[in-house]
């Protein structure tokens, strides 16, 4: 089948790619653009390891087709830290030991960033429900939630 040509923007940079009609955005990111920070845990939208933003909205990139991002703005984990340092959420994940194996971490950080952009002052319950689409099997979520709540506080202080 003929490949489609797609023009998009990834982490603020213009990007063109060719993809099969059935390729997901996740396939394109990982296999064609070598952006392997976005992980595949299930391929069915259940685990959140492939979380990215599409025009600012949090999505599972395994549920988006590559051809759908024509003209869109895609944000991945590779774009979270910009310039010379880590994003506050990344720092807080390290400080709080909020990762063990780390496979869910890119998706969780992308999701946590989306949460705090939508709601800079979430309750613990709001954070837990917003991040319910990101499975972590190692930590029991305790330290992740603490890192996110601490990030929220720090970011509010900065703003």
């Amino acid at each position: 089948m003929a490949k489609s040509h797609v023009t998009t923007s990834i982490n603020g940079q213009p990007q063109e790619f060719l993809c099969e009609p059935g390729d997901t955005l996740l396939d394109v990111l990982r296999n064609d653009l070598n952006l392997t920070g976005t992980k595949e845990g299930c391929g069915s939208g259940d685990c959140g390891a492939c979380s990215v933003t599409l025009n600012g909205r949090l999505v599972c990139s395994c549920l988006v087709l590559g051809v759908e991002v024509e003209g869109a703005e895609v944000g991945t984990i590779e774009g979270v830290s910009t310039g010379d340092g880590l994003h506050v959420i990344q720092e807080k994940f390290l400080e709080h030991a909020a990762l063990q194996c780390g496979i869910c971490t890119p998706g969780l950080i992308v999701s946590a960033k989306a949460l705090l952009e939508e709601n800079p002052n979430p309750t613990e319950e709001e954070a837990r429900y917003y991040l319910a689409g990101n499975l972590c099997r190692c930590t029991g979520y305790d330290k992740i939630i603490k890192a996110v709540m601490d990030s929220a506080e720090t970011l509010r202080g900065v703003a």
Partner: protein
């Protein structure tokens, strides 16, 4: 070691050295390696739970232009020439090979039959439909009751139950029977005032790591090959893969990628030898990544089990006898963790009269793999539920009942040795004084408590500490880091070398850069590999002293080393570690220390968990409202990652107790092979998991480490199970306490 050592670096909450790559997406996991010319492999899997393979026709697939190579069991050439009725080891390898690709039978839904490599992953997947397999269906044997019947359909007609004095005359699905005993249980029960006996069931549950199994391999014309994969033990991947393919170890290099969770499930091989066959036949690098449904149907899980526990107690709370029975599903090939189940079941109790009988039973499910304290959660669940019921019947606090009978230094275990110094009593006392236990139970909720025991293991670890000319260094270890162990290696080396941890970079070497190192499992890495790190670092210190002594023209004994500085006790001279390293060129060459050890003296880790639940009486849904995990770490090298192990273990156990189970249809086909229907805990399901880290040092480790990875998954089954029963005033016997099961208990009593 003595109690209460003073530490300079141990016990700090340092930033893990691999963390930066992990929060930025740079860390490379099993599926993240791409090589020039690489093609993709996919696996054809059995749609049937039990069938004879009459024929496999791959000719159409081979003729397809997208297909580069095809693999079936026939490609494991060397095995076919090996006698099936050989040594125990040979039979084991044959089972491993037959699990990687089916031989003459498929033994479970999802059993791999053939694999195809093609230019793209989707082309490989599409081409699987071109393989024609003819089956003769056989009855599926899906639980231990069925499997143990005299007239059951038999999975392996060459399997005779081991463990009886005489070899049985008839093939059976019971691979092994084990009995362990001490004292006289009959006499013990005769002394008891109260006896409780109950039967329990636990479901087939999966480790549930988020990263699917993945590998990228190459096989060159000279027979040199490379496997990059996510594994808990790359040296063991090398051993098993080499055996399946009849290769020399020196021709197979295995590189451990970063690993996205394992919990015991990544200690075995599935795709690695298959991918090498595909690579050899195509002349291309091959990548294989499992889909999530493949992970569920064809890897892990842990044993479903049927168990009985009977415990007798005097009115004053003295336990007089404990008796257990268990049958564990092994899956398609023998080797369930029944034996550790037998060993651990009653070990938290100091009771003279114990008898436990266990059976390892094959069924038509995927071969079980280790899962965090393999075998212990099921067995100890049964024991803890009965002990809790006895406490209730006696009107005794469940912690007091446990304290009265707690295993301690000198307690005789059923499996042989007496316990050395252990921390169960300290954990029980910490539980009793915990904010959680001291808080009244909210109206309408239920509370449960359980203890847990796991041995922990030592084993072989190889480490090299290499110093750079500027005084920084590299810690080269062979134990894949799943939960932050590089941070603890860094701190232990820093403690010996007395320099900042950040000046030491820990790396996981491949199989060609270090001698054999056992995998990360058995809670062994911080204990055993940590011991090797300490020993290797001590050798660096010894060399530093020698080099400084040579410069000062004194003996090494006259040099003291402290705070990163060598001092001449016979004069005024001093040199920093960095100065000695800078000078190394002139004093005899560069400085490094290595230690290849087989660590003995692993210290058992005991835990106590407390759980409160609220049950929705209309739907049967259970919410954990408060949870506390207390565990003896011996010494917490990095307290944050120790807490993480306690919390992670607790939550996996909560998932096992509340929701996780394989659902099969009447034909033995798994109906819920995805995270939507096999429901592991979500952030929104849980409260914060409170932790108390108890530190009763292990005398056999220089810093007192016991290892903490596994014990935490044991107590939740009993703590959650009992809490649910307490909330609804019913006896819980079968896990998980999923809404339909809890609702049925509420409605039917």
């Amino acid at each position: 070691m003595s109690e209460a050592q003073e530490f300079k670096y141990i016990g700090q909450r340092t930033i893990r050295p691999d963390g930066f790559d992990k929060v930025t997406g740079r860390a490379t996991y099993g599926a993240d390696l791409t090589l020039p010319g690489m093609i993709w492999g996919k696996t054809l899997r059995s749609p049937h739970a039990h069938a004879k393979i009459l024929s496999i026709d791959t000719s159409k697939a081979e003729a397809h232009p997208d297909v580069m190579s095809v693999a079936t069991f026939k490609d494991f050439v060397s095995l076919q020439s090996e006698s099936v009725a050989g040594t125990e080891d040979a039979a084991g390898v044959l089972d491993v090979a037959r699990n990687c690709l089916a031989d003459d039978k498929v033994l479970y839904h999802g059993h791999a039959i053939a694999a195809i490599a093609a230019r793209t992953e989707s082309a490989a997947k599409d081409a699987l439909a071109l393989i024609d397999v003819k089956y003769e269906l056989l009855p599926a044997v899906m639980d231990v009751e069925d499997a143990m019947k005299e007239d059951s359909s038999v999975l392996h007609d060459d399997m005779f139950t081991a463990g009886y004095d005489e070899k049985p005359s008839k093939a059976s699905n019971i691979a092994t029977r084990v009995e362990m005993k001490m004292g006289d249980v009959e006499a013990g029960f005769a002394e008891a005032d109260v006896i409780v006996e109950r039967e329990f069931r636990t479901p087939t549950a999966h480790q549930g790591y988020i990263e699917p199994h993945a590998c990228t391999v190459t096989y060159d014309e000279n027979g040199q090959s490379m496997v990059w994969c996510c594994t808990q033990g790359h040296f063991d991947v090398r051993t098993l893969t080499a055996k399946v393919l009849g290769m020399e170890l020196g021709k197979l290099k295995v590189i451990a990628s970063e690993i996205g969770g394992g919990f015991g499930g990544k200690t075995v091989i599935y795709q690695e030898p298959v991918a090498l066959v595909l690579s050899k036949k195509s002349g291309r690098p091959v990548k294989m990544v499992m889909d999530r449904d493949e992970v569920f149907i064809a890897t892990g899980p842990t044993s479903a089990a049927k168990l009985k526990a009977k415990v007798g107690v005097k009115k004053d709370g003295t336990i007089t006898a404990m008796q257990g029975w268990m049958a564990y599903e092994a899956g398609a090939f023998k080797g369930s963790p029944m034996v550790p189940g037998v060993m651990t079941m009653f070990t938290p109790y100091d009771c003279p009269n114990v008898l436990v009988e266990g059976f390892d039973v094959v069924v038509n499910k995927s071969k079980v793999a280790a899962y965090r304290a393999p075998g212990a959660p099921q067995a100890e669940y049964a024991a803890e539920m009965v002990v809790n019921e006895l406490a209730e019947l006696l009107g005794m606090d469940p912690i007091d009942l446990r304290l009265k009978n707690a295993a301690k230094e000198g307690t005789q275990t059923i499996y042989g040795p007496k316990l050395k110094r252990v921390g169960l009593v300290e954990c029980l006392e910490a539980a009793k004084n915990s904010p959680h236990y001291l808080s009244p139970l909210p109206e309408g909720q239920g509370r449960g408590l359980a203890s847990g025991f796991w041995f922990n293991i030592g084993g072989q670890s190889s480490v090299s500490v290499n110093m750079n000319p500027d005084g920084t260094g590299t810690i080269v270890e062979g134990s894949p880091d799943i939960g932050g162990s590089r941070a603890s290696m860094q701190m232990m080396a820093a403690e010996v070398l007395q320099i900042e941890p950040k000046n030491l970079k820990p790396i996981i070497a491949d199989t060609e850069n270090l001698p054999y190192s056992q995998g990360t499992g058995g809670s062994r890495t911080t204990f055993a590999t940590g011991m090797a790190v300490i020993e290797a670092s001590e050798k660096v210190v010894a060399q530093v002293k020698e080099r400084a002594a040579a410069v000062w023209n004194v003996t090494a004994e006259q040099v003291e080393y402290a705070d990163g500085v060598a001092r001449n006790t016979a004069g005024e001279d001093s040199m920093t570690l960095a100065e000695v390293c800078k000078n190394a060129e002139k004093t005899g060459g560069q400085i490094s220390g290595n230690a290849n050890i087989n660590a003995r003296g692993a210290g058992p880790s005991f835990a106590v968990h407390i759980c409160d639940v609220a049950v929705d009486k209309e739907t049967g849904k259970v919410d954990v409202t408060r949870y506390t995990a207390i565990q003896d770490a011996g010494k917490a090298i990095h307290p944050g990652y120790v807490e993480g192990q306690l919390q992670g273990g607790a939550v996996q156990g909560i998932g096992w107790a509340l929701n996780e189970e394989y659902v099969f249809n009447a034909d033995g086909v798994m109906e819920n092979p995805g995270f939507l229907d096999y429901r592991i805990p979500l952030a929104s399901d849980l409260p914060m998991i409170e932790t108390i880290t108890v530190e009763v040092p292990n005398a056999f480790h220089p810093y007192g480490v016991r290892g903490v990875g596994e014990t935490g998954i044991i107590p939740p089954l009993g703590a959650v199970g009992y809490a649910v029963g307490n909330a609804i005033d019913r006896k819980v016997e079968e896990l998980p306490c999923s809404p339909p099961r809890v609702l049925a208990l509420i409605q039917n009593g």
